[in-house]
């Protein structure tokens, strides 16, 4: 019982000896996460710049590709991810308030939202795979595209669109899965009552990663589902 009390008062964690203080450890850890997020922006950035360049080269191709995506699926996933970002932030909020029960619940809702996102993604992917709309040389669907105005036109380089589609949503999807695993790890530690106002660094760090995943989707949604 006494050890539980000790944890409940946030004294279970002692900062590593090479730091001057708990605050120094916290700010250094968080700075490391931000540097990592910077590299993440540059990694996704390469795909975004590639998309922009090819969009400029072949505007018709991207107009054709956008007829294969359903904006309602993308909008639903946007709302799911924004909700998960809110519950992630609240998970940290309750960890700061030393309310392990509510913090844990919020993290579980966040994981559930990630799962809903992946299920919606699965339906989108399976529909496209069924039609043979695969990236690059794996493409075995029809190159004849029916545009929004009803005209049918053959688009020879249609597989290129799906290379971008799968690479961008796929890399993002892998991030969602990794994020869900990390939040689960944070949840296990929340359950053990490890966090309080003076120490909640792991939840904060995992949260920053999860919000970045949301940030990438904020740009992917209009790019892939709305701009044609």
């Amino acid at each position: 019982m006494s050890s539980a009390d000790q944890h409940a008062h946030g004294t279970g964690h002692h900062y590593a000896h090479h730091f001057e203080s708990a605050e120094h450890e916290y700010s250094s850890s968080k700075q490391g996460i931000w540097v990592f997020l910077c590299t993440e922006i540059l990694m996704f950035g390469g795909l975004f710049v590639g998309y922009a360049v090819f969009h400029h080269m072949y505007p018709l191709l991207f107009k054709a590709g956008s007829t294969f995506v359903d904006w309602r699926m993308g909008a639903a996933n946007t709302v799911v991810l924004l909700t998960s970002s809110l519950t992630m932030a609240l998970g940290i909020y309750y960890a700061q308030k030393r309310d392990a029960a509510k913090s844990g619940l919020m993290l579980l809702i966040t994981i559930a939202c990630g799962a809903i996102f992946m299920v919606i993604k699965y339906f989108e992917y399976s529909h496209k795979i069924h039609l043979g709309l695969l990236p690059g040389s794996w493409f075995h669907g029809s190159l004849d595209v029916t545009f929004a105005d009803g005209t049918v036109q053959r688009v020879e380089n249609l597989p290129l669109y799906f290379s971008f589609y799968y690479m961008m949503t796929g890399l993002h999807g892998i991030h969602v899965l990794i994020g869900m695993s990390l939040i689960f790890w944070a949840w296990l530690r929340v359950r053990k009552n490890e966090f309080g106002p003076h120490y909640y660094t792991p939840v904060e760090g995992v949260g920053l990663f999860w919000h970045l995943v949301d940030l990438v989707w904020i740009y992917l949604f209009p790019l892939l589902y709305l701009v044609s």
Binding site: E23, H24, C38, V49, W71, L86, E156, N157, F221
Partner: protein, 109 residues
């Protein structure tokens, strides 16, 4: 580095963003998502992508400032993330300048 300064307030509690602020930010994000969808139905011509990216950037700033606590964070973390965005813009700028200044005799599409 501000190590000495941190040593003095080692036991100070971090700023906790009020619950209501999180709910307001979330409401704004949902409202902006609806605006993004509605804006896509309006024909802005060549500015369609700019409008969509403008709204996305407002959403991104809200997430960075409140959900990611940058508004209450130290300047260094803001500079780190801004440097990533800056070099992405540099990357984009030179790629797109290269692309639009090329002379193509006949586009394949």
């Amino acid at each position: 580095m501000a190590h000495g300064q941190h040593a003095n307030d080692a036991h100070s509690e971090h700023h906790i963003i009020p619950f209501g602020v999180y709910m307001k930010v979330f409401s704004a994000l949902i409202a902006l998502t609806v605006i993004t969808v509605l804006a896509a139905r309006v024909d802005f011509g060549a500015f369609g992508a700019a409008v969509a990216f403008g709204i996305a950037t407002v959403k991104a700033v809200l997430v960075l400032a409140y959900f990611m606590h940058l508004k209450y964070d130290n300047m260094l973390n803001r500079v780190i993330i801004a440097s990533g965005v800056f070099f992405l813009i540099v990357f984009y700028f030179f790629c797109i300048v290269d692309e639009i200044t090329r002379i193509v005799e006949k586009n394949t599409l």
